[in-house]
């Protein structure tokens, strides 16, 4: 597919060849974009519209005639104890894990930014929790937190810290602690590696100059390094927030939202209501409650990116 000359004007009465048409940037651009847009519209755009409709009807496995119910599913959710609990859970889960992941991530990145032997192997190994399937690594955590056979409990009892082990997944507060621990374990590598990449862009001469001027390592870190890697920190934080709020796998495998709904997040509650209890429309409404949070994050990112690129 090639045109003889690049920008030959097409005269009347002479139909342009396909090659010539594709040399026009506008048309070519849409042709090239169409496969991606087609898939995104069919499996994100269309489902999104479907979800608005679904959430405003009373569809369930038992309804034969679907009725329009307006915003009832949304208001019903707000009134339900379980939903309120889910909002609190999500808030705690996201808030605590993101802070820990950020602190550990920065710490680990600073460590990894030093030169030492086997650095490449260390870096590769540290990302493992992030790259293996979460549903599968969660199984290891399920066994680590087992009520009877938890190895943590073995250590706690044997070392004499306590007489009895912790009922990790059987008590609300401990179950929340358990999914938080597993999430921090899984997410810290992403923070560390991204922040490490940010650290590597920091100009050493700046730090050296500050050192010559008498700035302590601590001052150099807070006054020079942190401001310079702030864009990376911000992006990583926003991504992680979105992913953590919408988390599913860890909770599904470890607690299924229990005990007594104390670890339900939006995703697991929506799954329970829609798939296990068959209340499709109510589940869709619960999922959609994540949307405003998402919008805030996306807008923040876009505004930030636009500002930094101008």
């Amino acid at each position: 597919m090639r045109a003889e000359t690049h920008e030959r004007p097409v005269t009347a009465g002479q139909l342009p060849t396909i090659g010539e048409l594709l040399d026009r940037q506008g048309l070519l651009a849409y042709v090239l974009l169409s496969p991606a847009l087609l898939i995104l519209i069919a499996f994100i755009g269309w489902p999104f519209i479907t979800s608005l409709w679904l959430a405003m009807t009373d569809q369930s496995v038992s309804t034969s005639v679907v009725r329009f119910v307006g915003l009832n599913n949304f208001t019903d959710a707000l009134k339900s104890q379980i939903f309120q609990q889910t909002v609190r859970n999500t808030f705690v889960y996201t808030g605590v894990t993101v802070v820990f992941k950020l602190v550990f991530g920065v710490g680990l990145a600073v460590l990894m930014n030093q030169s030492f032997r086997l650095k490449n192997i260390a870096r590769a190994a540290l990302l493992l929790p992030w790259i293996v399937p979460t549903a599968l690594s969660a199984i290891a955590w399920l066994w680590l937190f087992d009520g009877t056979f938890s190895v943590f409990n073995w250590v706690i009892v044997r070392s004499g810290i306590a007489d009895r082990g912790i009922n990790w997944l059987g008590e609300g507060t401990w179950a929340m602690a358990a999914i938080i621990i597993a999430n921090i374990w899984r997410g810290t590598p992403f923070f560390a590696i991204s922040i490490l990449a940010g650290l590597q862009t920091v100009d050493r001469e700046l730090l050296d100059a500050a050192a010559v001027d008498g700035a302590s390592p601590w001052q150099r870190f807070w006054r020079i390094t942190i401001p310079l890697i702030r864009p990376v920190l911000l992006i990583v934080l926003l991504f992680s927030t979105v992913w953590t709020i919408s988390d599913f796998q860890l909770v599904y495998v470890l607690t299924r939202g229990g005990p007594a709904n104390s670890t339900h997040l939006f995703g697991t509650l929506a799954y329970d209501v829609a798939v296990r209890a068959g209340q499709l429309s109510q589940g869709a409404a619960i999922s959609l409650y994540m949307f405003p949070v998402l919008i805030v994050c996306v807008v923040a990112l876009l505004v930030y990116l636009r500002r930094s690129s101008t």
Binding site: L33, F43, L136, L144, W185, A274, L280
Partner: protein, 270 residues
């Protein structure tokens, strides 16, 4: 010392669950529930759980399914991302900014937001409980990232190379396939590895779209089929979790640089 101590401590914390997976998978059932022995070591190693997993469960079938889905979804996504990334990076056209922003937004759409309506769409298309339900929906997770990553790559290739070819009479398509694409190979490789691991690890779509054993993927099969009622087959669960993680870990270890490059490209370039 201030470096190696915290480093080794973190490494132990991060890698311990994998060690635990392995050691559990080679313990006999009696050793697994022995509360008096030392749990950190195995005294009578056995491969029984692996034999059970491979012979008595659908694990091999799930592996084949996961592989098929991941390869095809990755291929579809790569083609779409390369074309879209090139258009957004290189061509001037109306709506470029809006389309770029829209694709970026879809990158942040989590699976848990749309899995229920997507289930409806999959049903309407007659795809439920088939590999196609995953092959066609996974690209929605992969294309936004791939496009974004490749856009950055294409931009880093000097325009002059392409323009020289255009002046010499090559068409745009030709300039793209013969000059830009070869130079963008590292980026394409990053996108491919990313897409493959994301497909391999996907969970909620596979969980919701499938129900028969022989359509399941590894993560879903291991989680849903190796627990019978309240009985957990810990040994084979761990064997399945470990074997299911090996392929992504292997691919990742061969292409660490590409993976890290892809992962951090967005964050650093911002």
């Amino acid at each position: 010392m201030t470096l190696y101590l915290p480093l080794s401590l973190t490494s132990i914390l991060l890698l311990f669950p994998f060690y635990w997976m392995f050691i559990t998978s080679v313990k006999t059932n009696s050793e697994l529930i022995d509360l008096n022995g030392l749990p950190f070591w195995v005294f009578q190693p056995t491969l029984d759980h692996y034999k059970y997993l491979l012979a008595e469960t659908g694990f091999l079938r799930w592996t084949l399914n996961t592989l098929t889905i991941s390869v095809v979804a990755t291929a579809i996504s790569l083609v779409c991302s390369v074309l879209a990334g090139y258009a957004l990076a290189r061509l001037r056209f109306r709506g470029a900014g809006a389309i770029g922003a829209a694709i970026f937004i879809t990158y942040l759409v989590p699976q848990t937001l749309l899995f229920l309506p997507l289930l409806e769409v999959v049903r309407q298309l007659g795809l439920s409980n088939s590999l196609w339900s995953m092959i066609l929906t996974y690209p929605t997770i992969l294309i936004p990232f791939g496009t974004w990553l490749l856009m950055g790559y294409f931009r880093s290739i000097p325009r002059e190379l392409e323009e020289a070819a255009l002046i010499d009479g090559a068409s745009r398509l030709r300039a793209m396939t013969q000059i830009v694409l070869p130079l963008a190979l590292p980026g394409i490789l990053s996108a491919a590895i990313f897409a493959f691991t994301l497909s391999w690890n996907e969970f909620i779509y596979a969980l919701v779209f499938t129900n028969s054993t022989d359509i399941k993927t590894i993560p879903v099969g291991v989680v849903t089929e190796l627990v019978k009622g309240d009985v957990y087959f810990w040994g084979s669960l761990m064997a399945g979790a470990l074997l299911g993680s090996v392929p992504v870990a292997l691919i990742y270890s061969f292409f660490v640089e590409n993976y890290v490059g892809g992962l951090t490209a967005g964050a650093v370039k911002g």
